[in-house]
């Protein structure tokens, strides 16, 4: 695992020592090379985990998330080039350093064995993200957004720290590799109910669960493009990954403790999808769509069947790529019109037809069109929730319909119809932007050929 971590740490001296005209080229190239290294982890011969050391391991759940993380860094760097072009050199280097630090912490989080080490790195990802949102965001609301982001996550995760330490006292070790094998049922008591709550709330806030999702639209909207990309694609998945890891230790309370959160998620996904239909702010629409998709993942994780775990993992990877691509598309609009209002930049298909093709593909994958992996994820989740309780099919069906509605609404508003006459002098699409969209779309389409690698450890 050091073969990925040390090169990522070394990206920081690379940034600071590069010449002015080479910083973007150097960092993007080397981060692409690092993502190639991580692809080797996808080859997992058996259902067991690949143990690299006592501290790092990778199994069929964390390997796709790791590949997604390392794939996203060059994409983030490519997306940030335009809005940082006018900043002084030191500030550009600081920004890239923040992104690299975040990347290092994320890689270490996804591969940590010891759960306290996972916790420390989970919290550590907050600091660079906070700095990226607050320092490089564009509106005054970014200060509030940073505070909401930091404090919601910390309030949820401090009980997790206490819970992890008390579990360590009970079972003697928090090494994940050991816990898989000596899992015992938690005795039934009031304090174990609070233990369950303490363990899960941190990840519920991060996912986010419907009632605790207030930080997400603020943070996603106010962050610069790289911040939005990493938030939507990876940081939300940290919550899902943590939940998938920690629910193995929390039986049998999950069978009855999960009900309130299942209800909140099922209702929340319909609510947030409906809100998307009434949004005027493009980034806010994509942010609420993220909440809706993640609610599906929460439902899948809490049901705890093999198919639902497969659906959750596939949906996480698929949503990561799709959501990040949608944010990049929204950012290409923002850079031209400096406004996030959807109706200000309509009818772009006449002006930028190639970008319209990317908008079409992104919207189609967002509404889970077959045969994309988004569909595979959603279908598995719908099937497993139907087997858990027949009535959920109504809510799931309604959600899929409303998702289709707002994705097409977004597509038609931005692309079709007559263009507004004040955008007839926008710059045409840069090759960098087209490359960015292609690099998002290609893994998404290729994975539909072999979705086995993203289906997680219950395949």
């Amino acid at each position: 695992m050091l073969k990925i971590i040390i090169p990522t740490i070394m990206l920081m001296p690379l940034t600071w020592l590069s010449k002015k005209n080479m910083i973007w080229i150097n960092t993007t190239t080397y981060s692409l090379l690092i993502s190639l290294i991580s692809l080797s982890l996808l080859n997992q011969p058996s259902n067991n985990s690949l143990n690299f050391s006592l501290m790092f391991f990778s199994d069929p759940l964390s390997a796709p998330l790791l590949v997604l993380t390392t794939w996203l860094l060059p994409l983030m760097l490519m997306a940030s080039q335009h809005h940082l072009s006018k900043e002084p050199l030191i500030r550009k280097k600081l920004y890239i350093t923040m992104l690299t630090m975040l990347q290092t912490f994320l890689i270490m989080t996804f591969t940590a064995t010891e759960l306290i080490s996972f916790y420390i790195l989970f919290e550590a990802t907050l600091v660079p993200t906070l700095i990226i949102i607050t320092r490089w965001g564009n509106q005054t609301e970014r200060l509030n957004a940073g505070l909401y982001f930091l404090f919601y996550t910390l309030m949820g995760s401090l009980p997790l720290l206490v819970a992890l330490i008390s579990i360590q006292n009970l079972t003697g070790s928090l090494n994940f590799l050991l816990i898989q094998y000596w899992n015992q049922a938690l005795p039934d008591s009031w304090s174990n109910i609070f233990l369950w709550l303490a363990c899960m709330m941190a990840f519920m806030v991060k996912m986010p669960l419907y009632g605790l999702h207030l930080w997400l639209p603020k943070a996603h909207v106010e962050a610069p493009i790289a911040g939005s990309m990493v938030l939507a694609a990876i940081l939300l998945k940290l919550g899902g990954y943590g939940m998938l890891r920690i629910t193995t230790m929390l039986n049998p309370q999950t069978s009855f403790m999960a009900y309130p959160f299942l209800m909140l998620s099922l209702w929340g996904m319909i609510m947030t999808s409906s809100i998307c239909l009434r949004q005027t702010d493009l980034k806010s629409l994509i942010a609420y769509s993220s909440v809706s998709h993640m609610a599906l993942v929460i439902v899948a994780v809490l049901i705890q069947t093999p198919w639902s775990y497969m659906g959750a993992t596939a949906l996480m990877i698929a949503h990561g790529l799709t959501s990040s691509m949608l944010f990049c598309l929204a950012n290409s609009n923002y850079e031209r019109t400096h406004s996030r209002t959807m109706i200000l930049a309509r009818g772009l298909q006449t002006l930028l037809p190639l970008m319209a093709a990317w908008w079409l593909l992104a919207s189609l994958t967002n509404l889970a069109l077959p045969p994309s992996i988004n569909l595979i994820g959603e279908l598995f989740v719908v099937m497993s929730s139907f087997s858990w309780s027949n009535i959920t099919i109504i809510l799931m069906g309604a959600n899929i319909t409303i998702t289709a509605l707002y994705s097409l609404y977004m597509l038609i508003t931005t692309q079709r119809g007559k263009y507004t006459h004040h955008i007839n002098n926008i710059k045409p699409s840069f090759t960098r932007e087209n490359a960015l969209m292609a690099l998002h779309m290609t893994p998404l389409l290729l994975l539909s050929l072999n979705p086995k690698i993203i289906l997680g450890f219950t395949y």
Binding site: F105, V127, L143, G146, L150, M155
Partner: protein, 346 residues
């Protein structure tokens, strides 16, 4: 002040604390406290104005009261045990009185009212000595009598201190008052774990002193005593804004910085001793502290603009030389991976 006299007074302060920390006779400890108190008054009054006089008087009155209460506890202990050696305190009444006296010296709730006012009235360097060096002597006595302290009183004072330290600092813009409330909260953390594992108290004291030293050094470097003047540092030395950010986040206890280590260890120790609600409450109340640190970082380092500011800036006459700033900053932010080394303290 005449350098020779200043050196003598400073050495007396150091000597007083040393006497407290190394004596085995209760009377010598009391003498050490009094020496410390009398010698630090001129240091607190380095600038001669009514505000400093008021702060020094408040400090003198509270500390003298505490010393008298300490003397009373010593005498009761003498009556009940017949000897002057420092071991555990033999009488519950004496133990309660001594704990209250030492809490008054440290600035724990409900005896915390003097800390913000005294820290505000004195210069930054004196405030530095007040908040770091002066905590060493009472804490060493608490360490030595820790087996006999009444747990209920100590934990109540600790939790109330964390609450007051967090809540009281929320409405402050003066940096010295912010550091005072931060000191109250950190003292609360330190005394909460005193009965369970005094080594962690010392660890917390060490890391707290490093972080407070760093913060004060950075304030002295930019000669700023209000949030407003701290927000001008990006004009003079942009690097210090980053350093202020890192140190403040470390004081708030965010991983992966070293300020997280004492909190983590204290929570671990308390949980091992089967108190679960208490560390959860303490950790959540520490978030109040983090809020006003974040507010400071927002005005200092996270909202700089490449524009000229149209506010009055202070004229700097000379570049102040700060001793030991880089090692302090490194130690106050990067020590977390060294946590396994704590096993040498057992």
């Amino acid at each position: 002040m005449n350098p020779l006299i200043f050196t003598t007074i400073l050495m007396t302060v150091l000597l007083g604390t040393m006497i407290v920390m190394t004596s085995s006779h209760w009377l010598m400890i009391w003498i050490g406290f009094e020496m410390n108190l009398l010698a630090i008054i001129p240091i607190l009054m380095k600038k001669y104005n009514p505000r400093t006089m008021e702060a020094s008087t408040k400090y003198f009155l509270t500390q003298a009261t505490a010393s008298m209460l300490l003397m009373m506890a010593i005498i009761i202990n003498l009556m009940h045990s017949g000897q002057w050696t420092i071991t555990k305190v033999f009488n519950p009444t004496a133990s309660i009185i001594m704990t209250s006296a030492l809490a008054m010296k440290l600035g724990l709730t409900p005896f915390h009212f003097w800390v913000p006012e005294v820290t505000q009235g004195i210069s930054l360097t004196s405030g530095l000595i007040l908040l770091t060096w002066q905590k060493l002597a009472p804490m060493s006595i608490l360490y030595q009598i820790s087996p006999s302290i009444n747990l209920n009183i100590l934990l109540t004072m600790a939790v109330l201190s964390i609450l007051v330290g967090g809540w009281g600092g929320l409405n402050q813009t003066q940096l010295r008052k912010i550091m005072a409330y931060s000191s109250i909260a950190h003292m609360g953390w330190m005394t909460a774990v005193l009965v369970y594992n005094p080594t962690l108290t010392m660890l917390n004291m060490l890391i707290y002193i490093m972080m407070t030293l760093t913060m004060f050094m950075l304030f002295i470097h930019s000669s700023s005593t209000t949030t407003l003047s701290l927000s001008h540092t990006w004009n003079k030395t942009p690097l210090t804004t980053t350093l202020i950010l890192i140190t403040l986040l470390s004081m708030g206890g965010l991983p992966p910085l070293s300020g997280f280590m004492p909190k983590w260890m204290i929570i671990q120790e308390l949980t091992k001793n089967s108190s679960i609600i208490l560390p959860t409450l303490m950790a959540i109340m520490a978030l109040l502290n983090l809020y006003f640190y974040m507010r400071l970082t927002y005005s200092t380092s996270l909202t700089m603009f490449p524009s000229t500011n149209n506010m009055k800036m202070k004229w700097q006459f000379e570049t102040k030389r700060i001793t030991l700033l880089p090692p302090l900053i490194v130690m106050s932010s990067l020590l977390l991976p060294l946590t396994p080394m704590l096993s040498i303290l057992d």
